[in-house]
Amino acid sequence: MSGFDRLAALVAKDLLVELRSREVAYSTLVFALLVLLIFNFAFELRVENLQALAPGVLWVTFIFAAVLALSRLFAAERDRGALEGLLLCPVDRGTIYLAKLISALVLMLAVEAVAVPVFIALFGLNLPLGPLGLVAFLGSLGFASVGTLFSALAAHTRTREGLLPLLLFPISVPVIIATVKATGGVVAGEPWGVTLPWLQLLAGFDVLFAGLSYLVFELAVEE
């Protein structure tokens, strides 16, 4: 694949910058943990309603935290004047999109990997981590696919922090519904045949959102 070396360099750069600054990872993680803590106090979950509410609690936490991370995906680079340098490189805009998507996904999954054990500890719920990991990956991919595009769009505006969720939430409703339903199936320990259609729907939206975003990304980063 001709652009793979550039894609790898872009992702490595993003992760190294984040590793050094820890600007997004720390704030996103602390935010996710605080939301879980608030839910824990607010709902007083009991065994009889725990399984019904757990998927919603988990994904509201992940999605709010993801919006925080996505809002800084391009904004930090733009604020420091590096975004134009990136756009001046002889690289397909689509490659830049894919690199940003991978960087956002890595960050989201890292935060989720820390938040899930905390969720289990706080709510005393035994979750099958393998299937939950698959749902988390597909759900995060769908949300990050469209979130990366809108983050690039919103980065040009002064009201980007407010604009991003307004753009992102309505569009990502199908992904959120499919993800919560699939998580519900996993939490309730339902047969694989019940959860599979939601996962297939989720995978379909992932491909659709990532494909469309890849194609229109060039328009989003034009001045």
Binding site: L10, V17, G81, A82, E84, G85, C89, V91, E222
Partner: protein, 239 residues
């Protein structure tokens, strides 16, 4: 001779404001041209259009024979750009930044080339320093190193000497002279024309989005320039 930069009938509007109106000029290989004009005259917009960062509304814009609208990636391969910002990542060292951009441009023998451009700009001792910790002058030298890394035949530079001390300015002048002898083309905007006049063999002057002078840089002194910007004197002097 094929033009390195060809602009004809270029128009650019931001909403109702005309940033560039009917701009036309050509630059050949081996030409170093200074772009002058007051704030808001359209210098940065023109350079950004040539660099494929801003899309023109109308007109022909070709860089290295490539159309900036349809062949942006090919244009970006042959240009080196310095803007108002450094385009560098503050959390990374100078070497890490150059390594990253070198991989984007697929620069052969990258480590050797990094040492070479660092030597040209006096950055050898600061390669392992994070950009955040550099002075403004050394950040600008690093920005120039980034633009020169892939040895582009065409340089588009927006006030490239901002923050440079006398040594940095001298080094930059030598780089321009070397590029000119190798047939490279440079278009740079300047806020210190009196100091930089000798580097350029041609000058373009913009005023309110219009090209009001196109001629030899040597024939342009402070009095003539002030007159042009005030709307007096030669109207579109051609080389």
């Amino acid at each position: 001779m094929k033009a390195a930069i060809r602009v004809d009938g270029l128009e650019k509007h931001y909403g109702l404001t005309a940033a560039l109106r009917g701009i036309g000029f050509e630059l050949g290989p081996g030409q170093v041209c200074v772009l002058l004009g007051p704030n808001g005259s359209g210098k940065t917009t023109l350079l950004k259009i040539l660099a494929t960062l801003v899309r023109p509304d109308r007109g022909v814009v070709e860089v290295g024979g490539y159309d900036v609208r349809r062949q942006g990636r090919l244009v970006r391969n042959i240009i080196g750009v310095v803007g108002h910002q450094t385009y560098l990542y503050e959390e990374l060292t100078v070497a890490e930044n150059l390594r990253f951009y070198g991989r984007m441009y697929r620069v052969p023998e990258l480590e050797r080339r990094i040492r070479e451009v660092a030597g040209l700009l006096g950055l050898e001792d600061r390669l392992e320093t994070r950009v955040r910790a550099l002075s403004r002058g050394f950040q600008q030298r690093a920005a120039l190193a980034r633009a020169l890394l892939h040895d582009p035949p065409i340089l588009l530079l927006d006030e490239p000497t901002t923050g440079l001390d006398a040594d940095g300015r001298r080094r930059f002048g030598e780089i321009l002279a070397d590029l000119r002898t190798r047939g490279g083309t440079v278009l740079f905007s300047s806020h210190a024309f009196e100091l930089e006049r000798d580097w350029a063999d041609r000058a373009l002057v913009l005023s309110a989005g219009r090209l009001v002078f196109d001629g030899p840089a040597a024939g342009l002194d402070a009095g003539v320039l002030a007159g042009l910007l005030a709307g007096r004197g030669a109207d579109r002097v051609r080389v």
